[in-house]
């Protein structure tokens, strides 16, 4: 049985981890390598690193950050931010990413997903969708629409349909962020998760709004294969292992391999 993953997310700008609500009011949250190492020791199952740099100089730094994190990390690493063509993805993979996430560029040019899947494989191709609640219209009922350019634009595309199209085009995983919940710590958008997980057979990572292990258990119950969070871990409210212990207590079966509570390897 595949186990649900607990994934700390590092938003990196100019070589530093930052945090903020909907990319507003960014505050420094630490050194990416130190944080990655800490989360690895606490038993994280994977890390996501999103480059939120605003400038080309910042982008160039991101590649170095990926290489530095990779050197320290024996876990899967997904990297996103600024990937517009397959060569951008190749650069991140060469630096040490295992999977590459695309967002706005794939909305603008969906064939990018096919190009990435053909060159690197579906297991390497993650589609990040930022989904915002949409008021009901005549054409669509109430639902969620795709949000791009870090929240600045809403091109009028249904988020769940986009997930389904992405699967057909070769994406291997969906990183689904609720734009309305992101950074609010009010819980994942469970209706959004249920709709997306029901629409695709790909694994879906729940993102946006996590505050408690209870929220994470609910997201997994709604069909998510993994739960992503940033604030909980960066604020040191709970370690990854604390969260996993709490999830276990809630009946979730997952991997515990932190250095503080290492499960004994079975000896032959």
């Amino acid at each position: 049985m595949l186990m649900p993953r607990v994934i700390p997310c590092l938003d990196v700008r100019d070589g530093r981890v930052v945090k903020g609500v909907q990319f507003q009011g960014l505050r420094d949250a630490g050194d990416p390598v130190a944080l990655a190492q800490a989360y690895q020791e606490q038993g994280a199952d994977e890390l996501v690193l999103l480059d939120v740099s605003a400038t080309p100089e910042g982008r160039a730094n991101a590649t170095e950050t990926v290489a530095a994190v990779r050197a320290a990390l024996a876990l899967p690493l997904t990297v996103g931010g600024g990937v517009r063509v397959a060569d951008d993805a190749a650069r991140l993979l060469d630096a040490g990413a295992d999977k590459v996430a695309v967002n706005t560029a794939a909305v603008q040019r969906p064939a990018l997903l096919e190009e990435l899947a053909a060159r690197f494989g579906s297991q390497c191709t993650v589609l990040a969708i930022d989904a915002g609640v949409r008021a009901g219209t005549e054409e669509f009922g109430q639902g969620w629409e795709v949000v791009t350019h870090s929240g600045k634009q809403r091109p009028g595309q249904d988020a769940v349909r986009w997930a389904r199209e992405a699967e057909r085009r070769g994406a291997g995983e969906i990183l689904l962020t609720s734009w309305d919940r992101d950074g609010t710590r009010s819980g994942y958008d469970l209706d959004l998760l249920r709709a997306a997980c029901g629409a695709v057979s790909l694994p879906v990572i729940a993102s946006g709004g996590a505050d408690t292990p209870q929220h994470m258990a609910e997201a997994l119950g709604a069909g998510a294969s993994a739960v992503l969070a940033a604030s909980i871990f960066h604020d040191q409210d709970m370690s990854v292992d604390d969260v996993k212990a709490a999830l276990q207590a809630l009946g979730v079966r997952l991997r515990r391999d932190s250095t503080s509570s290492r499960s004994q390897g079975t000896q032959p």
């Binding site: 990779r70 024996a74 060159r119 790909l202 290492r262 079975t266």
Partner: protein, 205 residues
């Protein structure tokens, strides 16, 4: 000598494999020289995108890898690197594998999410020397049946159905999962493979 040759296939994402061996104090180096790949003390064949692309990229090096596995020289193959040891794959019906392992890779079936992305339980059989039971990280849509030839020991995993997690024969180790991404458990497995390679070298000298 701590050199580990990583087969350069052009499409593989090798950075994670290189980083893992560097953390273990080795000197990993990308290589596509047939003679070196046949004779080197340690060779790793990492996983790549699709079966056909990987087989094409490997080209005539396939024969060199086949030879070193038959000669039981220390070899580690990862993810698609394990599937390439089979006869072929449903993913790319015209491409032929190395036929060291029986059967063809098939897509996962049943009510499971595909690709299998994440951590899953590995159950190692009692005859394994390198493999231990534990949790490993997978990233695959295709898999082999849990069957190995005589002389091989194996580990299996469940994702809708049982499949071949890994198999070993002396210092030859083939893993469907990614040991380089499987945390402390994976690093310990890589260390045991390096230790097995060292004893093999000591005996060969």
């Amino acid at each position: 000598m701590n050199e580990v040759l990583i087969v350069r296939t052009g499409t593989a994402n090798t950075a994670s494999v290189i980083a893992a061996f560097e953390r273990l104090g080795c000197a990993p180096r990308l290589c596509a020289e047939p003679e070196e790949i046949r004779e080197a003390a340690r060779v790793v064949l990492p996983g790549v995108g699709t079966f056909a692309a990987a087989r094409d990229a490997l080209g005539s090096l396939a024969a060199d890898i086949q030879e070193r596995i038959f000669a039981a020289r220390p070899t580690l193959t990862i993810c698609l690197g394990l599937q390439l040891l089979a006869e072929g794959s449903e993913e790319s019906p015209t491409a032929r594998g190395l036929s060291i392992l029986p059967g063809h890779a098939r897509r996962f079936s049943g009510e499971v999410r595909i690709p299998q992305l994440g951590w899953n339980r590995v159950e190692a059989s009692g005859s394994c020397q390198l493999l231990e039971s534990g949790e490993a990280y997978y990233a695959n849509s295709y898999r082999l049946d849990p069957v190995v030839p005589n002389g091989w020991a194996m580990a299996s995993t469940q994702h809708g159905e049982a499949f071949l997690a890994a198999c070993e024969r002396g210092p030859v180790l083939a893993c469907q999962f990614h040991p380089e991404l499987s945390g402390p458990w994976g690093m310990r497995l890589l260390q045991r493979w390096l230790d097995a390679a060292r004893s093999w070298e000591d005996q060969a000298c």
